[in-house]
């Protein structure tokens, strides 16, 4: 039961008869209020029951963050009376409902009506709507019957993967690596790809003399052309990406939580490595595996990754790095590139990581990818006034801490990539390409 604005207006209109009634004003007042109340009661009683509606939702399962999706709600009237209703779908604000969340429909008995709304979610993860509220107004529009009907709906909002814009250029460089240039040195694990003519700048050690001897220069009879062997990068290497989902990942840098930056970087790296023929495993880790993708290859990899990442938010707990080597062991037995996406902020917070690192670095190639706050660099150069200089000193201190930690990681056998949020995904991809070109995977 709910009253409407029209009810209030009708009640207020009672002023006219009350004034005109003269001596009987009190009785007119009583009579008017009783009349309006009775009309409202009758109106509500005769309104079509919102409980006689059957609901059906049509909604895509997944959408990328920031992209629109159309949510359809079908109301079927299985009662005997016409339902004139205002309908509100119980989406949370972050589902990003476009326009007004009040739809007016009229459903005659035995028929159905469709309500279409556009959602542009602005937060990652599962957005759910538990119920739909229907307010069925009576014929006179004085009163309404209201009911909240269960209509569970779920929309999984995937990480946006904005860094995919960097993918084409990195793929191009990957193809350059692939047998086109002899940048790869000879050595353990390299694979012969093809022979081609020597050009200036090629390593003289990669000249294949036997092939050169067999090859006559068509332009100059009797002369030989120098041939070089090229090597293609190894395939089927293993990459384990570990995203730190603990409290340090909750920090917001350049208006993006570190965790989201980590996901962007992971997605770009996974897409690139997938094209390069390497196998990628993913782990979101704090004290336990919050998300895990293992043994997926091909185009399904990105889909599985974004799906796994969608529901992961940073939690205010400290990461348990000691448990990580065992997790990595369970994902892969062979030597892998382990990319750990975690900030190198302060010696205190990174102690657990540093303690675990030698153990991991013994079996694997470890790369620590850390988000640097660009605000620190700006602050460290600010000499505006005394307070700014103090801020500059503190920022300098934070940068020194980072440098010190990066040096410690390198000493312990790992490697470091550090960049601002927007630059970290391409920087990580570049480092991967460099490692691949160097045959270090």
């Amino acid at each position: 039961m709910a009253l409407t604005v029209r009810f209030v207006v009708l009640l207020a209109l009672g002023i006219v008869p009350v004034v005109l009634a003269g001596d009987a004003a009190w009785w007119m007042l009583l009579g008017w209020v009783a009349l309006v109340a009775a009309l409202a009661g009758l109106d509500a009683a005769l309104a079509g029951s919102p409980r006689a509606l059957a609901l059906e939702r049509r909604l895509p399962d997944r959408v990328r963050l920031g992209e629109p999706v159309v949510s359809t709600l079908v109301l079927s009237n299985i009662g005997s009376r016409r339902v004139r209703a205002t309908v509100r779908d119980g989406w949370p604000p972050s589902a990003g409902l476009v326009g007004d969340n009040r739809a007016r429909v009229m459903v005659p008995p035995g028929e159905g009506r469709r309500i279409e709304t556009t959602l542009v979610p602005w937060r990652r993860g599962d957005r759910t709507s538990e119920a739909v509220t229907v307010r069925s107004t009576g014929l006179l529009g004085l009163a309404a019957r209201q009911a909240t009907l269960a209509a569970p709906g779920r929309l999984r909002v995937l990480p946006p993967f904005r860094s995919r814009k960097h993918l084409p250029s990195r793929l191009a460089r990957l193809r350059e690596l692939d047998g086109a240039t002899p940048v790869a040195i000879r050595g353990r694990g390299t694979e012969f790809d093809s022979l081609r003519e020597y050009v200036d700048g090629d390593d003289v050690r990669s000249i294949d003399w036997r092939a050169t001897a067999r090859r006559n220069d068509p332009a100059v009879p009797g002369a030989q052309r120098l041939m070089v062997r090229t090597w293609r990068p190894e395939r089927d290497r293993r990459i384990v990406i570990v995203a730190d989902a603990s409290r340090t990942a909750a920090a917001r840098i350049a208006d993006e939580p570190r965790l989201d930056t980590a996901f962007e970087a992971s997605l770009l790296l996974a897409a690139l490595a997938g094209h390069a023929g390497d196998r990628v495993d993913f782990l979101a880790w704090d004290r336990r595996a919050r998300a895990r993708v293992h043994g997926v290859t091909g185009p399904k990899l990105t889909v599985r990754l974004v799906d796994a990442m969608a529901g992961v938010e940073a939690e205010l707990i400290e990461a348990d790095w000691a448990g990580l080597p065992a997790q990595v062991r369970s994902l892969t037995a062979s030597r892998s590139l382990v990319v750990v996406l975690t900030p190198l902020d302060s010696p205190g917070a990174s102690r657990g990581l540093l303690a675990m690192l030698p153990q991991l670095a013994r079996d694997h190639l470890v790369l620590v990818a850390s988000v640097l706050d660009p605000a620190l660099a700006t602050a460290s150069a600010d000499r505006e006034d005394v307070a700014a200089v103090y801020r500059a000193a503190a920022a300098e201190r934070a940068l020194l801490d980072h440098d010190r930690l990066a040096a410690a990681v390198r000493r312990l056998g790992g490697d470091v990539v550090a960049a601002a949020p927007a630059d970290l995904p391409p920087a990580l991809a570049d480092r991967y390409l460099a490692l691949k070109a160097a045959g270090r995977l």
């Binding site: 700006t378 460290s380 103090y390 000193a393 503190a394 934070a398």
Partner: protein, 423 residues
Amino acid sequence: MSPTTAAARPAEAVSPTFAASLRRRRVWIGLAALLVVAAVGLFAVQGGSRPEGVPLGADNAAPAGARALVEVLRDHGVEVVPVDSLDDALTAAEARESTVLLHDVGLVLDDERRERLAEVDADLVVVDPTVGALADLAPGVRLAGTADGPLQDAGCEFSPAVQAGELPDGLATLSLDAEAEAEADGWTTCFADADDRAAVATMLGSDGRRSVVPSTELFANESIDRDGSAALAIGMLGAHERLVWYQPGLDDADAAAAPTTSELAPDWVSPVVILLIVTTVAAAIVAGRRFGPLVVEPLPVEVPAAETSLGRARLYERSGGRTHALDQLRMGAIGRLAGLLRLGRRATVAEVVGSAAAATGRAPAEIEALLVARAPQSDTEFAELARAIDALEAEVRRATRPDDVRRSTAPRPDPNPSQEDRR
């Protein structure tokens, strides 16, 4: 807008029906109803029956009431009849030999009624009259303000006044009209002061004695025991076996009387006000009705990253850790200078100072003071040193890379030295 083949099963309702919500709140509804019933009952039992606080009310035991006087009179065998309408007063007074006390609290008596009362066949005592009442009931008698001091001498033949002997000070007074009209009618005054202003005026007429007492203090509970007040009151009011205690009420008011605010306003004003209140309440209910349950927005944890650094800056500032803060800037600068001067990561401070001096042509001692030795004594000096270190850095940069015009913001050593170089 198309018919659909949705499931024929109605959606399960999460919210309770109207009846169910009533049932669920039945305890509270019951309690509220009980409260209302109790309030109405209490009002009916108590509020309706007590004319609270009427001055000189016969039943009023409050300081301004006159119950003390009434009780004493009753003890003396006087039948006291409180009435609130003229008709009742006249009926009661004319049945037996009576005294009528008139105290027009609400100023409701009009001229016509006062004239009818003036002709009553009984003694009449008028307490605290208005100018209009005096003109009708005691022509020639005027109100004369407040007496200056105690009134000690009755100065008249009126026996209650003689018995009273003395009256308290501060009483309202009367005076007789100089035109002598009053004296011609036989009015005399008692307890007159030096200016002929008296506390009581009285006259024995054809219908009975007429007395005027302008002050209520002589009868009120709180002040009747002062001096001869009680004697005067009892003497005046207890002369006959019946006392009609007449305080004109609503029945005596009519259109001719002075209209009150509620009489001036049209009949519909109060109902309209009530209607507006009801409308406001209805509007509040309409506006307050929630369209379904609240939806919870699960908020992720988010920490502003710069907090730590800002907090540390404030700590430096508050604790005056200038040297410590400057050391951070110096360490950063030395690291960058080492990179600019191609000294490598392991270069000592002395090497950096020496190379910087060589590159810029400054004295090594000056550079060492800047990078190591000088301890700032004040915030101003601290800021100056910080700027001087910046200037040194820029100078070294110009000296080592003349083509590089980018300023000193942050060409920090590349945080990602490429692994390719290491092979």
